[in-house]
Every structure is written in structure tokens, then in C-alpha cells.
């Protein structure tokens, strides 16, 4: 049993964090839930409309389009996770020359401003003057308008998404790799297992807790993608139809069209989706994550 005094101290110490969370996260969530059931005036003033906003969204083609684009983007970015494992494994090779240079290079996108990333890639992807199509052109391939064509835009954006997260994920994997005790490998070597076999049988299974963490975080971030789309695709672009994500739709509804109530409902649906998929992943982890 703890004394009342001890409890009080405990609460006092967590108070700054708890207050911050309550004011900046919990209260806005409650507000958003309320807003999602209202129709807003432009300068404040809200009318209660119940679930009408949600009913409107469930019959809205744009919403389904955005949902599909977001899920496609998430799957594409998740498919980039193995790349981070490979990069981390390579960076972990003992005695590699210029190791810190490589580590810096891979981590650079993480510390670069998203605006700079978006604009630079926009130049690279430019259909007429971009470096990517120029390279393709020398190989005799007529590259498409990557960011102007609804069939290609989301893939182009996903490439940038993967590119900018590889470094961060690799650092996490690197920490995971270094946490695997050496003696497993020594034992395997004595038993005659080669490098590849060691990787598949020891490294991958023991890395699964890190993999799980990376997959969950990557998915949550991917579901909320906005900045890359906003920076690379204009409001009038024909490609928007194929690259409008849920948060982009939220922005358009709330800040271009001034329908705050409806925008709040989109945010609530996204919150529900993130919670649901994350809960699902936590259930699924029992099947594939090995804790030592």
C-alpha cells in the first residue's frame, strides 16, 4: 500500500505531460467529435445536425475515392519496409568503409524540410523537363506525366514517401539488429549455417518486435499523408482524382470549402480507421512477432 502522499507526488510529476495531452490532444478530439455532428457557420456559430455529416460522407464518391487512394498509398509505403531492413543490415556489416557517411546519407531525408522534399521531387518528376523522364528518354522510354496523370501520381508520391522514411526506419532496425546477441550467430556458424541462412533464421525472427513497431508507425503515418500530396499536386490538377488522400479531402472540405462540420466528420472517420487498423495489427502480432 502506498500512502496518499506518495500518490500525490506521482500525480504531480505526471501532471505537466498529462495536462499537455489533455489540452492539446484529448480536448481537440472531444471538440472534433462535437463539430462532426454540427454544421458550422463561417465565423463560428454551430448548428446541431446529428449524424447527417456522416450519412453524407457514406454516400460520397469522393470519400470512397480518397479512402481507396489512402489505402493504396499505405500498402505501397508498407511494401517499402523490407527495403529498410536490407539497408539496416548492410549498414550493420562490420568493418564497412565510410559507414557514418552512408548512415548520414540515408538519414538526411528525415531532417530535410517536407516542403523542400516535395518541391525537389516535383522537379524530378516533371514530365517535360524532369530528370527522371530524361533518364528514361535516353533509354528510349517515353515517360508519362508522373504528377499530372491520375494513374501514376499516387505511385510517384509513394516513391517519395518510401524514400523519405527509409532512413528513419533503418535507424530503428539498426538498433534492433544490434540488440541481437552475438552468440546466436556464433552457434549457427559452428553448426555450419551460411550468411543468408543466418539472416533468415536468426536475424529476421529476432527483429520482429522492431518490425512490428515500424510497421505500425509507418501505417499510421501513411494513413495521415497530406504534405507530399499538397506540395506535389495542385488543387486543379487532373491527377488529384487519383491522389486525393483522406487528409487532403479534409483540407479541401474544411479550409477550401469552409465546411468545418463535414471536415470534422472526415477527421473522425480517419481516427476510427487508424484505431481499427492498429488494433487489428496488435491482434495479428501474436501470430508473427517473437519476443525473446
Amino acid at each position: 500500500m502506498h500512502s496518499k502522499r506518495e500518490w500525490a507526488w506521482g500525480y504531480l510529476l505526471i501532471a505537466p505531460m498529462a495536462l499537455g495531452l489533455a489540452v492539446f490532444y484529448l480536448w481537440p478530439i472531444v471538440q472534433t467529435l462535437y463539430l462532426s455532428m454540427t454544421e458550422s457557420g463561417v465565423f463560428g456559430g454551430y448548428t446541431w445536425v446529428g449524424t447527417a455529416n456522416f450519412a453524407e460522407l457514406f454516400t460520397d464518391e469522393e470519400m470512397y475515392g480518397a479512402l481507396g487512394n489512402t489505402l493504396l498509398y499505405s500498402v505501397l509505403v508498407l511494401a517499402g519496409v523490407p527495403l529498410s531492413i536490407v539497408v539496416a543490415a548492410l549498414l550493420n556489416v562490420p568493418g564497412l568503409r565510410g559507414l557514418s557517411l552512408y548512415r548520414t546519407l540515408y538519414f538526411l531525408p528525415v531532417v530535410t524540410m517536407p516542403a523542400a522534399v516535395g518541391l525537389t521531387w516535383r522537379y524530378l518528376f516533371n514530365g517535360d523537363f524532369g530528370a527522371i523522364n530524361h533518364v528514361l528518354g535516353t533509354a528510349g522510354i517515353d515517360g508519362p506525366y508522373w504528377l499530372g496523370d491520375p494513374d501514376f501520381a499516387i505511385y510517384a508520391i509513394a516513391v517519395v514517401g518510401i524514400w523519405s522514411s527509409v532512413g528513419y526506419n533503418a535507424v530503428l532496425f539498426l538498433a534492433g539488429l544490434q540488440g541481437i546477441p552475438r552468440h546466436y550467430y556464433e552457434a549457427a556458424e559452428i553448426d555450419g549455417a551460411g550468411r543468408l541462412r543466418q539472416f533468415v533464421r536468426i536475424t529476421l525472427p529476432l527483429l520482429t518486435p522492431t518490425t512490428f513497431f515500424v510497421v505500425v508507425i509507418t501505417m499510421i503515418n501513411a494513413l495521415q499523408v497530406f504534405d507530399l500530396v499538397y506540395l506535389m499536386i495542385d488543387l486543379k490538377s487532373p491527377a488529384l482524382e487519383g491522389s486525393r488522400t483522406i487528409v487532403y479531402l479534409f483540407y479541401e472540405t474544411g479550409f477550401v470549402q469552409n465546411q468545418r462540420g463535414l471536415a470534422a466528420a472526415i477527421a473522425v472517420i480517419l481516427l476510427g480507421l487508424v484505431l481499427m487498423l492498429t488494433a487489428f495489427q496488435f491482434r495479428l502480432q501474436k501470430k508473427w512477432v517473437h519476443y525473446e
Binding site: G127, Y145, G148, F250, E252, G254, L270
Partner: protein, 414 residues
């Protein structure tokens, strides 16, 4: 990307409802300090000069200039308005004026002060019979053309009498696929491109009373097809091209014969010595039914909750005075002053461009930009649907009818 927009926005939404306090400083008796918010950095020099002239005439008033970039301007203003603390005088456009007037954020101004200003621009700032903004500049869409390409193809330069057919014929002659050269640019632009052609064909964007969409009018559809037709006939690049590179940049690459663009592009083009030599400007070509040039002008609006309403109104009125309009014009910035007869200085800044002729021919055909209460809402619908027609994915007529349906629903709720 560690940028979590939803949470940031959720917080933003909550803050909007909470509002912000007013931050007025104590002032000496008889002295007044008013704040003046604008979004264009190009207008900083002229605004500062106008403020200096105003302060000289009104020594008791100090005007503080605040520049907020366009991207944040409206969000910031709206947040401030919800909390009741907007700047005293601020830039307003005709897209937003009705919303702010209806919301009681801005105050009506004296009708007589707009005397002598073109009605096509001033009328955009009327709501419920009252004037809510004093416009001080005008943006006129026009036809820019590349003389070098015209000469090479042996086509006569555009004149004030040009019609749609002249444009189409010239575009065809100027197009040369082997050089990746196109006759014209067909970017999806409302004020200067597809709204004028909708009107020129005899159609309309919005009914007179602002309650019905005009997109399903067959004449309006004809006006839209003018543009999609150019893309289909391959005399203009496909829609994806404008998504990658903006039309002003494309035009300066010297591979496009004509550009529907604003006269205010003059300062950008003039800054490029090579381009300065090879291009010129003419009025918008006439359509099959009539002449129509959609004019837009920025205005100054006065906050309804200003602590110095008299001084604020006086400043907004001063900005449209002949003295201030001349200062604006002589500063040689991007903007063309609105009061007739004050533009000489601006025209002279770009002597080889036929801007005066374009101005003289365009102003009599001026039509206000179509707006309703929540224009941004239906324009977003219009843009996302038109993008499909521009990309050639759906016929224009289908898309136009769908825009009309959705637009009518939005208008009915206003």
C-alpha cells in the same frame, strides 16, 4: 514525414472557436493607430508610399502595414474574425466579400466614395444593396502572343478585332509537332479563360439572381469546348502539362504561340530581357455571341469592430483617391490602378507592350466576376469536375451538367 496534419488541424479548429483577444496598445488622446493587412509582397513599396502620403495629410493617424502571404491570409483572417479582432483595414476580394459582409465582420462604406470607379469592378463588392469594399486595382485578362513564332509561321499578329476563329486558325498554323511547338496554351483558368468564353458564347456561369448555375446552358458548354477542343485538336498541350509547369513559365520557353494571361503578367515578362523582346499583348478575342472580359479588383474593407472606424474608412477612401492611385501606378509593381486616367505611369513602365490599347479595348466590355455567398465551395466542385473534361476522360457536356446539379444544391443552401 513526421508531419501530422489532422491533429494540428483539430487543434486549429478548436482554437478557432475559442477566439483570440484583441491587442490594442494604449494611445495618446486624439491619436489613432490603425492596422492594414495585405497579402502581396509586390505591393509593399506602393503601400508604404501610400501610407506615407496618407499620414502626411492626417498627422494624427498612424497606419501599420501587415503582410501575410496569400496561403495563410484567409485562414488567419477567418480565425481573427471568429474571435472578433481583425485588422482595421484589410484586403478583400470579391470571392469572399459577401461572406464577410453577411457575417457582420466588415462595415458598409460610403457609396459616393466609389464614384468614378468602373462599375464592373465596384459591383463585385456590393451585398444587400450596400458597398463593402473600395476596389483599388484591376486585373484584366488578355491575349499574350509570341511575335517570333508568329513571324516564323507567317501569321499576322492578333488585333482587337480577333475572334475565336482567328485564334483557332492561328493556333493551327503555329503548331509544329516536330519541334514540340504548340499554337496556344489551354490551361484551366476561370477568370481569364473559360469564364469569358462561356459568356462570349452567350452562356453564363451564374444566373442574375445568383441562385442557379449556368453550366448546363448549351452556350456555356460551347464556351468550355473552345478549350477542350484545342487540346483535342492538338494545337494545345494536354492537361497534364499544366500540372507540371505553370503556364507563365511554359510560355517563356518560346514554344507556345499564344497565352490567355493577365495584363499583370507584364512585370514578370518584362523582367526577362529575352522574352521582353519577343512578346506582346492584345485584348481577349471576341466570341460568337458577344465581347466579354471578366474584371477583378482587390478592395480594402473596413472592420465592423474597428476602434477607429472613422480613420479606417478615411484610409480606405484615400487609397482610391487620384493621388494614391497615381502612386500605385508609378510604383511599377504588378498591379494596375483602377481609377481611370491614373494608369499612365504603369503603361510607361513596359513601353513596348500594347497595354494601353488592351486596357482601352477591354474596360468597356468589363463584366463582374461571378460570385455568390460561398463561391469557394462551388468553385472547388467546378475545378475538380472540369479537370476530368480537360484530361479528356469525360465529355464536357456530361461534366458541365454534373457541375450544374451540384452547384445548384450548394446555391440552394446559401
Amino acid at each position: 514525414m513526421r508531419f501530422r496534419l489532422p491533429l494540428v488541424c483539430l487543434t486549429g479548429l478548436a482554437v478557432m472557436t475559442a477566439g483570440c483577444g484583441s491587442s490594442s496598445e494604449p494611445e495618446a488622446a486624439g491619436k489613432a493607430t490603425i492596422s492594414y493587412a495585405i497579402w502581396d509582397k509586390n505591393d509593399q513599396t506602393s503601400a508604404e508610399k501610400i501610407i506615407a502620403a496618407f499620414q502626411q495629410a492626417n498627422p494624427n493617424v498612424t497606419v501599420k502595414l501587415e503582410i501575410t502571404p496569400w496561403d495563410q491570409y484567409w485562414t488567419k483572417l477567418q480565425t481573427a474574425a471568429s474571435g472578433g479582432a481583425t485588422p482595421d483595414v484589410f484586403w478583400m476580394n470579391s470571392l469572399n466579400v459577401r461572406m464577410y459582409a453577411k457575417g457582420g465582420i466588415i462595415t458598409p462604406l460610403e457609396e459616393s466614395k466609389a464614384q468614378g470607379l468602373p462599375p464592373a469592378v465596384v459591383d463585385g463588392y456590393r451585398y444587400d444593396g450596400k458597398l463593402y469594399g473600395l476596389p483599388h486595382n484591376v486585373s484584366i485578362p488578355a491575349l499574350w502572343y509570341d511575335k517570333k513564332l508568329f513571324d516564323a509561321a507567317g501569321v499576322a499578329y492578333p488585333t482587337a478585332d480577333w475572334t475565336w476563329d482567328d485564334v483557332k486558325a492561328a493556333a493551327k498554323k503555329l503548331t509544329d509537332p516536330s519541334k514540340k511547338q504548340f499554337g496556344i496554351l489551354a490551361h484551366m483558368w476561370d477568370q481569364g479563360a473559360f469564364y469569358p468564353t462561356m459568356l462570349q458564347a452567350g452562356g453564363h456561369v451564374l444566373s442574375e439572381d445568383g441562385k442557379k448555375s449556368g453550366f448546363d446552358d448549351p452556350a456555356s458548354i460551347q464556351g468550355l469546348e473552345y478549350w477542350t477542343g484545342m487540346i483535342k485538336d492538338q494545337v494545345a498541350p494536354v492537361a497534364e502539362v499544366y500540372a507540371d509547369t505553370d503556364p507563365i513559365t511554359l510560355f517563356q520557353s518560346g514554344k507556345y504561340g499564344m497565352l490567355y494571361g493577365g495584363v499583370w503578367f507584364a512585370s514578370t515578362f518584362w523582367a526577362n530581357p529575352e522574352i521582353r523582346e519577343r512578346i506582346d499583348v492584345a485584348p481577349l478575342p471576341k466570341g460568337p455571341a458577344k465581347d466579354a472580359v471578366i474584371l477583378l479588383g482587390l478592395a480594402n474593407a473596413v472592420s465592423a469592430r474597428s476602434e477607429h472606424p472613422k480613420e479606417s474608412a478615411a484610409f480606405a477612401e484615400f487609397v482610391v483617391s487620384e493621388q494614391a492611385q497615381k502612386i500605385l501606378s508609378d510604383s511599377g509593381g504588378g498591379a494596375l490602378s483602377l481609377r481611370d486616367g491614373t494608369q499612365e505611369g504603369w503603361f510607361k513602365a513596359f513601353p513596348t507592350f500594347h497595354l494601353k490599347e488592351t486596357y482601352d479595348a477591354s474596360m468597356p466590355n468589363g463584366v463582374p466576376y461571378p460570385v455568390s455567398l460561398n463561391t469557394a465551395q462551388w468553385q472547388d466542385v467546378q475545378n475538380r469536375l472540369l479537370a476530368e473534361a480537360w484530361a479528356g476522360k469525360r465529355p464536357v457536356a456530361d461534366v458541365a451538367k454534373e457541375i450544374a446539379t451540384q452547384m445548384n444544391e450548394i446555391l440552394a443552401k446559401e
